[in-house]
């Protein structure tokens, strides 16, 4: 049996928590997750399991609760109900194993700080409240910047770089977290082609190292090239599984309903068995 199952968790929860469908050793397992901002839930009773060593996409229309799902899984926003397991452990215990790339539009890029400084924020958890940032930590942050191709921009103020570079800075910060599970919120939103190639290149290298990647994704055209697995959501879970069998016209219609643009339908026609 997998050594990741700790007896403490079982006794901790008492009742039959057992991931009904999701395997315990999934990198990220979500059970019955419900999140609500108002009376209407943004995410309703979603189950999902993201396997170790794969790149997974969370896909759905605007307002379907994709980012909400990701943030609730991270504990960034409170969940109404449901459970989250990271490598079979509770979120609280597994925090150090998670890296996070928020939407780059979610922060104020006029903030007085440098590119390198932002990347070093990925080390803050390890440093604690008062630990000193060593030369080694600085070197590690620089190396992460180098991996996303931004080593030359280390001392720039973060307002003085392009949108694509900002996205890569956030990825470098997540790399500095040295995590086993990386959660990304729309990593390709509003980036140039070069940045998109650089980011997917880094993600594929992470997969090679056995890391798990989960990304909220918008562009249906790149799903097949970039992802192993897909979760289709529209408030509720619509479908989940390997891209090859789950990314079908039927499932997409169920997810997007009337909102699926005709251009997308024509794209899908190519890969599906017919209309």
């Amino acid at each position: 049996m997998s050594p990741t199952i700790k007896p403490a968790i079982v006794s901790d929860l008492g009742h039959a928590v057992g991931p009904a469908r999701a395997p315990r050793d999934a990198a990220l397992a979500i059970h019955g997750l419900t999140v609500s901002y108002s009376e209407k839930p943004a995410v309703f009773s979603v189950d999902a399991a993201f396997s170790t060593g794969e790149i997974s996409a969370i896909v759905g229309p605007n307002g379907a609760g994709k980012s909400t799902l990701l943030k609730a899984a991270l504990g960034v926003i409170p969940r109404l109900s449901g459970e989250v397991y990271v490598f079979g452990d509770t979120l609280r215990n597994a925090r150090a194993r998670i890296g996070y790339v928020p939407q780059s539009a979610s922060v104020d890029w006029d903030f007085p700080t440098t590119v390198l400084d932002v990347v070093q924020m990925g080390l803050y958890r390890k440093l604690g409240l008062l630990g000193r940032l060593s030369g080694q930590g600085r070197a590690q942050a620089l190396e992460c910047l180098d991996r996303v191709g931004l080593a030359d921009f280390a001392n720039r103020q973060i307002g003085q770089i392009s949108g694509g570079q900002r996205q890569r800075v956030f990825l470098a910060r997540a790399l500095a977290q040295d995590a086993d599970l990386l959660l990304l919120d729309e990593p390709f939103a509003g980036v140039d082609a070069a940045t998109e190639r650089a980011i997917i290149g880094v993600l594929k290298l992470l997969r090679k190292d056995g890391k798990t990647v989960v990304a909220v994704h918008h562009d249906l055209a790149t799903i097949r090239d970039y992802f192993d697995r897909i979760l289709l959501v529209n408030v509720r879970r619509i479908a989940e599984g390997p891209v090859a069998t789950t990314f079908t016209t039927e499932n997409l219609q169920a997810t997007f309903g009337g909102r699926l643009a005709t251009t997308h339908l024509s794209e899908l026609a190519i890969m599906d068995d017919g209309h």
Binding site: V76, R95, I98, Y100, F111, P112, M121, L127, L129, L130
Partner: protein, 303 residues
């Protein structure tokens, strides 16, 4: 700069500097969080609380004043909710209405109360009583080394020095957390940093600084020091570390120059009457901000 300076000017200058720094430090983070007016709001809302605390206890000591201020802040939060819900108006307008109304109520209360025995009146609330905080027991600079004479330092100085030390310590200890949760709250929470609690702690710290400074220097300086030195500092640099250092430098020079100009400035222009030190300190901080807007190296940044 002899005995007379130590007796009459040293204490007000020190109190001015400590008040300015205690307000400017949290002001840096409030400005970056787009909450700059919280300092303004706090200094208005606490006035009726302080007056009522005085009416109930009959003394102007720090514990009842802080309690009164805290109570007023809670009442304000509740009233804002009520106005928002019942009136169906936007939060900013509800806040503005409550803050100004509570301040006005505080002014009326003060006006109708017999506070002639203590330094608590409308003018004091606005301007403080910086000039009256003298240290007559001092005989010169050497008094700073004489423990017996040091014990006669005005309470206001001891109080604001304590609060300033607490604010400095909190800023240093929570530096990294404050920085990351101000820049990227979601990421901070993902790291397990209690960002919401930290935000509340920042506002509470600002409130404590405001109440302590309010006592000594009045609400004009409090409002100015929360905003002017940090805002000017932001225009000088693109590093948070340097910004905070600049803001302390600007707060210190505003307090020092303001006090000196208020006391001696009118004499240079042939007028015998000194002007309000608080008003002058706040004005100087505004002038510094104006100069930073015109000449600060980071005044035109990419948005």
């Amino acid at each position: 700069m002899g005995a007379e300076f130590v007796q009459l000017s040293l204490i007000p200058v020190l109190i001015g500097i400590l008040s300015a720094v205690a307000c400017a430090l949290p002001g840096n983070f409030l400005i970056l969080r787009r909450q700059a007016l919280i300092g303004d709001a706090i200094s208005h809302v606490v006035l009726p609380g302080i007056v009522i605390a005085f009416l109930l206890t009959g003394v102007t000591s720090v514990a009842p004043m802080l309690l009164g201020a805290a109570g007023a802040a809670l009442v304000a939060v509740g009233l804002i909710e009520v106005v928002k819900r019942l009136g169906g108006i936007e939060p900013g307008a509800a806040m503005g209405a409550i803050f100004t109304t509570m301040f006005a109520a505080g002014v009326l209360l003060l006006d109708r109360t017999d506070t002639s025995t203590v330094h608590l009146d409308v003018e004091h609330a606005l301007m403080g009583n910086l000039e009256s905080l003298v240290w007559l027991q001092a005989e010169g600079w050497h008094s700073l080394l004489d423990l017996a004479i040091l014990a006669t330092l005005p309470d206001e100085l001891v109080r604001i020095a304590t609060v300033c030390a607490i604010v400095v310590a909190l800023t240093l200890v929570f530096w990294r957390w404050l920085k990351i949760s101000t820049f990227d709250e979601g990421f901070a929470q993902a790291l397990g940093i209690p960002a919401a609690g930290l935000g509340l702690g920042l506002v509470v710290t600002a409130a404590i600084a405001a109440v302590a400074a309010f006592d000594a220097v009045g609400s004009i300086i409090v409002i100015a020091m929360f905003i002017c030195p940090p805002a000017a500092a932001r225009l000088m640099t693109n590093r948070l570390e340097h910004q905070v250092a600049w803001s302390v430098a600007f707060a210190t020079s505003s307090a020092t120059l303001g006090y000196i100009f208020a006391g001696y400035g009118p004499l240079w222009f042939g007028s015998p009457a000194a002007v309000s030190a608080s008003g002058m300190i706040a004005s100087i901080s505004g002038i510094i901000l104006g100069l930073a807007c015109l000449y600060g190296p980071q005044r035109s940044r990419v948005k």
